[in-house]
């Protein structure tokens, strides 16, 4: 029982991280029509900036602000320098260009920080564990990550549904050409959306930095799962990113946690482990295939 609850919390925390990344990516894909493979690199930029500042100053919060600023700045620079030339082009060109950006970011990180991973710790107030259930001390910091993710989700909901900018974003996701025809400053909107997406990716990176080791290439691992979330949730829909992110995060975690042990009931140890781990890694992709069979545009697609 305790194990189940703890794994659910782990899944929720992973899901929230996926949501932060997917929200930005789905907005960029939905409103600007650009496939941005370099989103994971922005996650890495946020994590590195936060880790470096935290190590220099000893303050997690200083690192948090720096990480957000660095990733937002990187996002704006990438948008101004590279993305502007890609809007009218084929998706394949966009994939090539953003893939090149990944390589550039990774190598730059190696040149600046070297190959040794950076380590930061959670801030003092969150460094312990809270006993949520009797016998289950859960790391406070992970609860903080979940809380931040939920607050950001709420904030994005308010931004998208209750403000003028949000209205433009929704309109752009539904029909880009019409928005331009109506005389809206589409360039400014694009830069703002890309910057917001980069900020969210950077926030995900900063939140993850005390948990995982901050290393070159950390964005490459998580960007695959992020794309799956975007596809399942529906391109252009933040609500879809939220639902899909949480569901996927939980599904992936539960599968990894319980499948190997379940298989061990029916086959010998090492083989069960290997098979279980293998199938768990495939889990989210199988889910994506299933969803696409039933709803090809994703669960909450923005376009009608």
């Amino acid at each position: 029982m305790i194990l189940l609850f703890e794994q659910l919390l782990n899944g929720l925390q992973y899901g929230v991280t996926l949501f932060l990344l997917a929200a930005g990516l789905t907005l960029i894909f939905g409103i600007m029509g650009v496939i941005n493979l370099a989103h994971g690199a922005l996650y890495m930029v946020g994590a590195f900036a936060a880790a470096w500042v935290a190590i220099q100053t000893g303050s997690f919060w200083g690192g948090l602000v720096s990480g957000l600023l660095a990733s937002a700045l990187a996002g704006v620079l990438v948008e101004l320098g590279v993305m502007r030339r890609l809007y009218a082009r084929d998706h394949l060109d966009q994939v090539l260009a953003t893939f090149a950006l990944i390589l550039i970011f990774n190598q730059s990180a190696v040149m600046v920080f070297g190959r040794q991973p950076l380590f930061t710790s959670a801030p003092e107030i969150f460094s312990g564990a809270i006993e949520i259930l009797p016998g289950l001390p859960y790391p406070t910091y992970r609860l903080f990550v979940i809380a931040v993710g939920l607050v950001v989700a709420l904030g994005l909901y308010v931004l998208i549904n209750k403000t003028r900018v949000g209205m433009l974003v929704r309109a752009g996701a539904t029909n880009r050409q019409m928005v331009r025809a109506l005389g809206v400053n589409i360039q400014g909107l694009y830069t703002a959306v890309f910057g917001l997406g980069a900020l969210l990716a950077g926030l995900a990176g900063v939140m993850a930095s005390p948990i995982v080791s901050v290393q070159v290439g950390m964005g490459d691992e998580i960007i695959l799962a992020t794309f799956v979330v975007v596809v399942i949730g529906g391109v252009g829909s933040v609500k879809g990113a939220f639902v899909a992110g949480i569901v996927l995060g939980m599904f992936d975690t539960m599968l990894r946690a319980f499948l190997p042990a379940t298989l061990q009931q029916v086959m010998p140890g090492p083989e069960a482990q290997a098979l279980g781990v293998g199938i768990s890694s495939m889990g989210i992709y199988l889910m994506m295939a299933l969803v696409l069979l039933i709803r090809p545009r994703g669960l909450f697609a923005a376009r009608g």
Binding site: P117, F119, P137, V216, A257, S281
Partner: protein
């Protein structure tokens, strides 16, 4: 005037190759990714060890990116185009499993400073294949022996799902002898929350984990964050608590028990010379066992080159290697029948030094002059 210049430059051009006349040694190692610093340690250790041996050498270094395909491509080029006869450097067993057979087929010698998977230690052993570090299983058998000696009977063992990970859990279980729950993690995994929950659920007396490089850092941090560090003791084999990991993890590692074949506080001349040479050449990087293993490898290759007079006669070189005529930094060193080391193993504790940072302290010798279990299967 023109003639004088031409003659002078020709003379200079002829003189230059004399300086670059060392034996080429092919080094395929992992220099990128979260475990990239392991390759950097190996490269640095090889350089210092070969310099200390006094042999004339030239290191040809390439990055395999922890990918067997890349490793094979690089090896192919080194063996066939550059005519290199001595290969070394591989960190990871999956790369080693692909590159070593390729090297042996080409009639060259491979000397391993780190990876030593079980298939190559038993039936597939080869006169041209030497291992200077340890055989994969024996590295973890020492931890099993330590856990058993400390009186534990139930354990949870975790390792990534690849050859070295499987060797690790097999080796640990073999010597531990008690009840072991095996958990395999992903090779690229860095968030172990799920595994922490499973450990808490099983509530063993001791936890053993093998996660090299960046994974090791993440695991130790999360173990402490999950509140398990104070409640369930951990016994580690050396790759999981190398000096770089400890520097990154900080006080979260204090209290953990480990096993090792070498530590920086060893008292013999060769070890002290190596520690000094490393501190002079790399003052900002701690010396890990990877660096030490590579240093010993450099000493071995250097001694063989000096004895055989270069790599012209591979058979003579092989015989010189087998003689293992060098002063090892770990004190006593000898090759077993499968040309893997026979050596001593020590129990260590991670304690706080004056500044509160973790420090590895050698406690006692727990295994003396042991080889590995696969030697009996080697028919050389």
């Amino acid at each position: 005037m023109k003639k004088l210049l031409t003659t002078a430059s020709l003379l200079v051009a002829m003189a230059v190759p004399a300086f670059a006349d060392g034996t080429k040694i092919g080094v395929i190692t992992t220099l990128s990714g979260p475990a990239g610093y392991l390759g950097e340690q190996i490269r640095a250790g090889l350089q210092l060890g070969l310099e200390a041996s006094g042999a004339a050498f030239e290191l040809v270094v390439e990055d395999d990116g922890r990918d067997p395909n890349t490793g094979v491509q690089i090896a192919d080029r080194m063996l066939n185009e550059d005519g290199i006869k001595i290969m070394t450097g591989i960190v990871f067993s999956n790369v080693s499993g692909a590159v070593v057979p390729e090297t042996l087929d080409a009639g060259a010698i491979y000397v391993s400073p780190n990876a030593a998977p079980s298939p190559l230690a038993g039936e597939k052993c080869n006169p041209n294949y030497f291992v200077v570090s340890w055989q994969n299983d024996s590295l973890h058998e020492a931890s099993g022996a330590a856990a058993k000696k400390m009186g534990y009977t139930t354990a949870v063992a975790l390792a990534p799902n690849y050859q070295a990970g499987k060797d690790a859990i097999a080796g640990f279980s073999r010597e531990f002898g008690g009840e072991v729950t095996e958990i395999y993690t992903g090779v690229d995994q860095s968030d172990f929350a799920s595994e922490m929950a499973q450990i808490r659920d099983k509530n063993p007396q001791v936890v053993f984990q093998f996660h090299p490089g960046g994974q090791g850092i993440a695991f130790l941090k999360q173990y402490q964050q999950a509140g398990l560090l104070g409640t369930v003791p951990m016994v580690l084999s050396e790759p999981s608590y190398d000096a770089v990991i400890l520097k990154a993890v900080g006080p979260a590692a204090i209290g953990v028990t480990g096993t090792t074949h070498w530590n920086a506080d060893f008292d013999n001349e060769a070890s002290k010379a190596m520690v000094a040479a490393w501190a002079a050449a790399h003052p900002d990087t701690p010396l890990t066992t990877y660096g030490q293993q590579a240093y010993d490898t450099g000493l071995l290759i250097g001694s063989a080159l000096n004895k055989a007079g270069g790599d012209g006669d591979v058979a003579a070189l092989q015989a010189a290697m087998k003689a293992a005529d060098f002063a090892s930094t770990r004190g006593s060193f000898a090759f077993g029948p499968n040309q893997h080391p026979v050596q001593d193993w020590y129990l260590t504790a991670i304690e706080a030094d004056e500044a509160g940072n973790p420090k590895i302290v050698t406690k006692e010798k727990i295994r003396e002059a042991v080889g590995d279990v696969y030697a009996a299967n080697c028919k050389m």
